[in-house]
């Protein structure tokens, strides 16, 4: 605009014509600034500065008459480039796989258990219900395995006639010995997740475990002979319950799980219950 060498005020002419007044032609050489202001009552043109004369000023205005047709500009629809989009957290359902975990035992009620080990997946498939306030309730089906090993020199033995599991000791001079009770379960966790802000979440819940199989495996070597004895047909409790809690950050979590139920049915094995497990989890 400033580089214009000549401005012919045709617009002024048009404006003047629209106002039914005589033509006005003004020639301004290389104006510095041209300001056109339209209002509902009229239009004005202001020119500031021209070639070799920065102090030059020219203004012209026309008032609309009642017979004028005024073409107005459209509204300015403002776009805020950085305005955050409001997230509408409408309650909704989702399906997902989550909570792969692995942990070690902190202790059980049974003194002869040396350590325990626990791994699994909370939801091989689960349904989540997301509230509008950041909570998630979920129910699903998963897998869980618990393993209990005995302190030396104790080992599991089973009377195959009665399927009663007892504790014995290894024969003398054995090497590479281990004796482990393994319980596999399909689990049905019901979980509650609460956002703590940012990527932090707390997860609380309980799980019903359907202990589909259990076995005791006792392994040892005497001289060059390896003994690997597996006992099946163990009378484990078919249904047990666990409670758990986890603190999660961006899907990585530490969890604590408590299993109050006895692994064996009453009278079919030692009382292994009140097991505490602490471990880590991903995708939780």
């Amino acid at each position: 605009m400033k580089k214009s060498t000549l401005i012919v005020a045709a617009m002024l002419t048009a404006l003047a014509m629209s106002a039914q007044s005589p033509d006005t032609v003004t020639v301004i050489d290389a104006p510095n600034q041209v300001i056109i202001t339209e209002t509902t009552t009229g239009t004005s043109v202001k020119v500031l500065g021209q070639k070799n004369d920065n102090s030059y000023s020219y203004s012209y205005s026309v008032q609309h008459s009642s017979n004028d047709t005024v073409h107005t500009t459209s509204d300015w629809e403002l776009n805020y480039p950085f305005k955050k989009k409001v997230k509408r957290n409408a309650p909704h359902f989702s399906i997902e796989t989550k909570g792969i975990y692995i942990g070690g035992g902190l202790g059980t009620s049974y003194d002869l258990v040396n350590n325990s080990f626990n791994w699994g997946i909370l939801h091989i498939m689960g349904v989540n219900y997301h509230t509008s306030h950041g909570q998630v309730f979920s129910l699903g089906v998963g897998f869980d395995q618990k393993r209990f090993s005995l302190k030396r020199p104790n080992c599991f033995v089973m009377d195959e006639a009665t399927n009663i599991v007892g504790i014995s000791t290894y024969p003398d001079e054995v090497r590479d010995r281990s004796s482990v009770l393994t319980v596999d379960a399909l689990q049905f966790p019901l979980l509650f997740q609460q956002s703590l802000g940012g990527d932090f979440h707390i997860v609380l819940g309980g799980s019903m475990n359907w202990n589909v199989s259990a076995k005791c495996n006792t392994h040892y070597k005497i001289n060059k002979t390896t003994y690997d004895v597996s006992y099946r047909g163990i009378k484990q409790h078919k249904i047990t319950f666990d409670v758990m809690g986890a603190l999660s950050f961006d899907g990585l979590a530490i969890y604590c799980r408590f299993s109050p139920s006895n692994m064996f049915k009453q009278g079919f094995g030692p009382e292994i219950k009140n097991t505490w497990t602490l471990g880590g989890a991903v995708a939780l």
Binding site: T40, D75, W76, L78, P81, F82
Partner: protein
């Protein structure tokens, strides 16, 4: 700790943005008065987010309070008189919108945009918006950016 960090960052951003508007009448509007004002929204963007669209500073204030709106309009018109280029529209004797190109500062273009949506014809809203932008972006680019 998180709250303290946010306050410090917000203060730094405000200071940086306020310095950017130094010498303008609208500068006094960016003293933090709208941060906790009811019905007001203030957005300050600097750094990588702003540079993605060719700006070093983006500072906007939207108010619904009529008295505040009048103050903003008054200061914008005052700064607008110093603009090297401007595009304005008045409706009912009031400034409806104004896009002002100010003198460059440290080789950065500077723009002031004002919009009084109370004066919109289709769907008026009780919002008056002021945006100060500074950066290498051209006026055309800025207009495209802020117009739907």
């Amino acid at each position: 700790m998180k709250r303290v960090t946010i306050i410090i960052l917000a203060s730094l951003l405000t200071t940086m943005a306020a310095m950017a508007q130094k010498g303008l009448n609208i500068n006094r509007l960016f003293d933090g008065r709208y941060k906790k004002a009811v019905g007001a929204t203030e957005i300050i963007v600097t750094g990588s987010q702003a540079s993605e669209i060719g700006l070093t500073v983006y500072h906007s204030v939207s108010v619904t309070d009529k008295a505040q709106a009048e103050i903003i309009e008054h200061l914008v018109v005052k700064d607008g008189s110093q603009a090297i280029d401007k595009e304005v529209e008045y409706r009912n004797g009031q400034l409806y919108y104004g896009f002002y190109t100010m003198q460059t500062r440290k080789h950065n273009n500077r723009y002031i945009f004002f919009l009084n949506q109370n004066l919109a014809r289709k769907s008026p809203k009780n919002v008056v918006t002021l945006i100060y932008m500074e950066g290498e972006a051209s006026a055309e680019k800025i207009k495209k950016l802020i117009r739907k």
